[in-house]
């Protein structure tokens, strides 16, 4: 069921519905991400950004609508989860490195266990992806020996080692102070420059403006306004105007 003709979007959501009990969190969300595109999901706290992102990797099951990711029909109950998750990399706000494993082991685990990669080859790969995030010297360190920013970069490297077709980032810098934020954002910028397809939930408006090909502004479970990064400087809806006006837009 893999369809990778270049015209197909890598990720597409159509009229996605999701409720938690009586709370309607996604109320007909639609957007698509083309190959090589960087999409930034922005919006106020509770507007459904994380939920939308998690639906893409099926950490949440949708109630209605259609989600297609790299040819996988994610909304269907029979979706091959492990195949989907080999195509999608996800990085969380809280890093979630495995504390009992070294950085190298964190990175080589999935390629070895899931793809059956040989250990020696996986180790080379670990060096390569760590170099990509500027952490070669931390190969044999344990997560708790790293700063927050380094842990987050290691988590990105761990995801990259699975060679995903699209990366999802959920507020990956929210737990970091400005200096550490900058080092993580630099890594993401480089990924974008290398052509990685990405969907990122972010509160860093300046960053979104600089890196995103498209902005999706969510409000009350709906895509309230969408367009190129320029909508951040000239929003059309009062809600986005207010959102970017309340000090969110800083460079």
């Amino acid at each position: 069921m893999q369809q990778n003709s270049s015209s197909e979007p890598i990720v597409s959501l159509r009229n996605v519905q999701k409720s938690f009990g009586p709370l309607r969190v996604l109320d007909g969300v639609s957007f698509a991400v083309e190959r090589g595109e960087v999409l930034a999901l922005i919006g106020r706290s509770g507007s459904g950004k994380s939920t939308a992102l998690r639906c893409i990797d099926r950490f949440e099951k949708v109630d209605g609508g259609e989600i297609v990711v790299c040819g996988h029909r994610v909304d269907r109950p029979d979706v091959d989860l492990r195949a989907l998750r080999q195509d999608v990399g996800i990085v969380f706000q809280s890093y979630n490195l495995f504390p009992h494993l070294t950085i190298e082991q964190n990175i080589t685990l999935a390629p070895c266990a899931v793809k059956g990669m040989a250990t020696a080859q996986a180790r080379d790969l670990a060096r390569k992806v760590l170099a990509q995030v500027g952490l070669e010297e931390k190969l044999h360190a344990y997560p708790e020996q790293l700063s927050g920013g380094q842990q987050q970069r290691a988590a990105i490297a761990r995801s990259l080692a699975m060679q995903p077709k699209v990366m999802l980032f959920d507020e990956v810098t929210s737990a970091l102070d400005p200096e550490l934020t900058a080092e993580v954002l630099k890594v993401i910028e480089q990924l974008a420059a290398d052509g990685m397809t990405m969907v990122m939930v972010t509160h860093e408006m300046g960053f979104a403006k600089g890196i995103a090909d498209r902005i999706v502004f969510m409000h009350r479970g709906k895509v309230h306004e969408t367009g190129p990064a320029s909508i951040l400087t000239s929003p059309t809806t009062p809600e986005l105007t207010q959102f970017v006006g309340t000090g969110n837009l800083k460079s």
Partner: protein, 227 residues
Amino acid sequence: MSLQLDFPAVLERWPSFLAGAVLTLELAAFATVLGALLGTLAAVGRGTHNALIAGACKAYVETIRNTPLLVQIFLVYFGLASLGLKFSAFAVAVAALTINVGAYTAEIMRAGFEAIPRGQIEAAEGLALSRLQIYWHIILLPAVEKVYPALTSQFVLLMLASSVCSQISAEELTAVANYIQSDTYRAFETYIIVAVLYVILSLVMRAGFWGLGLVLFPRRRRLGTPL
């Protein structure tokens, strides 16, 4: 009234004491390994979505935790006998102790599993690891690490509790003591020696678990964090 202790009369039976102590340690070793396996499986079972498996595991754990060990031993002993199955007292003792410590291990491991942050499992799922791989690579060792002191104390307690296996004439330390004191009429001396031997066995086990911890948790060794 004067207390007269005659240790030499009892100590000359040291080969019997030694044999009893070794057998106690063997009982504890077998039951610890098998009980750890059984208990871990039962803890996983209690966490599954299959209501039948989860219910069966819960019933097992609650039954064992609410009945005396001696009664459990008799149930296994006479149960097997009434089925016409003949096993050595040692085998019966290992089986009963395994079933017993498995239930306590299950409770402890369940607490360990619950202490693993949800984010760890999501990160592993996001990397396309299977359910089994997640248990094996991500959950098991950190869970054991979190409950290691409770777990190892339980196994030491098991070794001490194995003294009731003297009731089905497994030749462990307490059983040995029972007939030495009836031979020598030196009960107090005998049980003082046995008590000292149990203390030594406990220390041996604790030392063993400490060493095992160094092997199982290399991060603690590297970073020097105590358990």
